[in-house]
Symmetry: C2
Subunit: 78 residues, 2 copies
């Protein structure tokens, strides 16, 4: 599983945990709903600015979000 | 100062602290030297994969690298 796919999965999980729709996340982060959808499906990879915007919209630090992705990547490698 | 410029500054500082040249960082991260140079000058913003590759090449976590950028962004806002 590549990092885009893992990021997408992590993002979707956090978003669902917080009961936020893709539309709401798009609105809060000022990103396009289609872009959010592509990120979640691992079709696109986020840029630093998207990471910052998405993390802020989910009330977390981008470092925390990236850390979750790294943890998940490690668990796939092991 | 935007996040690209701050990222560039943070990256350059860490690279210099570790006494790694742009060429060496490019080689280790499997990225183009020109791309590293553009990142450091804040002309480009990194993608998740570049963050992961650069952090690994500098023997740190991408979460740590992003955290340093966020700390620096906060200090500029205050």
């Amino acid at each position: 599983m590549n990092s885009e796919a893992i990021f997408g999965q992590v993002l979707k999980n956090i978003r669902k945990e917080q009961k936020v729709s893709q539309e709401e996340l798009a609105f809060r982060s000022n990103l396009d709903r289609t872009y959010i959808s592509m990120l979640e499906r691992g079709i696109h990879q986020p840029t630093l600015n998207s990471l910052l915007a998405i993390a802020a919209a989910l009330d977390m630090k981008a470092a925390e979000l990236v850390g979750l992705v790294e943890d998940e990547m490690e668990s796939y490698q092991n």
